[in-house]
C-alpha cells in the first residue's frame, strides 16, 4: 500500500490513482523514413527500469482527476515530490 500526498486532495491511497510509468521524452518522427525510426522504437519499448528514484506520471482517477508528476524510489517506494502537471511548483 502506498500513500500519495495529492496537492489537491491530501494524503490518498495509491489505489485511487492510475499509473502510466516513468516520463520519457517523446522523439519526433516527422519526415523520417520507417527504417530510420530506431529512436521511436526505443521510445516505445525500452525501459530505464533502474533501482532508484524516477519521475513518473500518475493520474488521480478517483479524486481531483489531475495528472501528477511523482518522484518515487523503485525499491523503497519512498515519494519525495508530487507536482501537478502544467503547474509551476
Amino acid at each position: 500500500m502506498l500513500l500519495i500526498e495529492c496537492p489537491h486532495c491530501g494524503p490518498r491511497n495509491s489505489s485511487e490513482f492510475s499509473y502510466s510509468g516513468p516520463i520519457k521524452p517523446r522523439p519526433s518522427i516527422e519526415g523520417l523514413a520507417p527504417e530510420d525510426r530506431a529512436e521511436w522504437r526505443r521510445y516505445l519499448y525500452e525501459e530505464d527500469n533502474h533501482a532508484g528514484f524516477a519521475t513518473e506520471r500518475w493520474f488521480h482517477v478517483s479524486g481531483c482527476r489531475k495528472f501528477l508528476n511523482i518522484e518515487r524510489h523503485s525499491v523503497t517506494n519512498e515519494i519525495t515530490s508530487v507536482l501537478t502537471v502544467g503547474e509551476v511548483s
Binding site: S14, Y19, A38, R42, E47, D48, H50, A51, V75
Partner: protein, 430 residues
Amino acid sequence: MRQGEPTLAKQAGRTGRKFSALSLIRKGMRGGDWPRVWRHHDLAPTYDVVIVGGGLHGLATAHYLAQNHGITNVAVIEKSYIGSGGSGRNTAIIRSNYLTPEGVAFYNRSVHLFERLSQDLNFNVMFEQRGHMTLAHSDASLRTMRWRAEVNKLQGIDSEVITPEEIQKLVPLMDVSGQARYPILGALWHPPGGIARHDAVVWTYARSADAQGVHLHMNTEVTGIDVKGDKVVGVRTSRGDVSAPIVINCTAGWSSIISDMVGVKMPIHTRPLQAAVTEPVKSFLDPVIVSGSLHVYVSQTARGELVFGAATDPFASYSTRGSLEFIESLAGHVLQLMPSLAKLRLLRQWAGLCDMTPDFSPIIGPTPVDGFYVDVGWGTYGFKAGPVAGEQTAEAVATGRIPKLIEAFQLDRFEKGTLTGEKGAAAVGH
C-alpha cells in the same frame, strides 16, 4: 546425451549420492548426516561460461550446458541463496495451453521435460498433472478459450472447452449457478497441466549441475561486467574478479540492472506479483483453477494449503512487500468462485518480481554485446518454462545458433516489430 556415456543417475550412484527407497531406509536406520547436495568451491580465476542468477533458469542452463553439450567449466553466481528469487516465490503452475503457436510449442516442450524430470535426475520434484482449468466469465472470454483450444489441438495438446456441468463434476465446490457477479460460462480444460514442488525443481538442477562439475557460488553478488570492444571478457563479483568469454543473464527482477552493466537496454519493466497461502485443509481441490477476469489462480498443495496468485501490482517496483488491498480483493474473488471457503484463514502472503515485456513473452538469446546472452523477461510464466529455457539457452550458447523453439523470443524483435503477443499469459485479463 551422447551414447555410451554413463547416465547422470549412475554418476551420482558412484559418488554415493543416489537417492532411492533403499538408501532412505538404510540412512534412517543408521542415522548420520546426508551428504551435502552441492559443494562449496573457491572462485576460480577463469570459467568458460558465467551464469548470473542461481535460480531455476540459471541452474537449468548450467545443467543442460553440462549434460547436453559437455561444457562443465561453468560458474553459477547467486547474490543470495539458491532459488531465493522468483523460483521460490511463484505459484508452481505448469501448463502449455497458450495462445500463440510459438508459445504453445515452447511451453509444451517444458511440460515434457517436467514429466521426465524426477526420473532423469533422480530427485522427486512432485510434479502432479492434475489438470488446469481457465474459467470464462463472458462470451468474449469463452471465444478466446475456443480459440486457444484450437491452437493447442493443432499442436497435439490435450485442451478443450468444457461446460459448467463438467466444471461442477471436476470441482464440486465451484459456484456454477450463474448467480455470481461474474457467472461461470465455461472453461478451457487442459489435463496435462498441474503443479510441482518449486524448491525441489531448483534443488534437482543444482544437485545435477554440481555433480557434473559446475561451480555454484552462493552469497556472491555480481557488481559489474567487463566488456572489451563489444565483447564480454569477465565479471566482477563481491568475492573477486572472474574472466569468462560468455556471460548469461539468468536473473528475474534484476535483469534490467544486470543488462545495464554491459549497456544493453531491455524492454522490461519490473512489477511485484503477490501470492498468498491458507492454512492446510483436507484435500478437496484437484485441478488448478484460473480466472483471468477475476485475476486469481488457486491450487491445493500436497500438504493441503491453498495457494493463491493474482495479477501484477498496479505500478512498477522492486519492493516485495505485500499489501492489504491485494489480500482483500483476492479474498473477494476467491469467494466468488468458491463461497464455502469463507471461514478459511490465510497463513501468509508474499511478493515476487515479474519482468514484464511488451508482448508477454520472454527474451532468450544473444544480445548486441558479443558473448553476453540473456534468458530474461519472465513475467508470470518463468517457473513453468524453467527446464525448456535452460535447455534452449544452453543450446544457443553452445552451438552459437538460435534454436527453432526460441526464434520468436529474440531481443531484436522489438527493433524489427515482430512481437509475439502472448495473450494466453496469466497477466492478461480476458
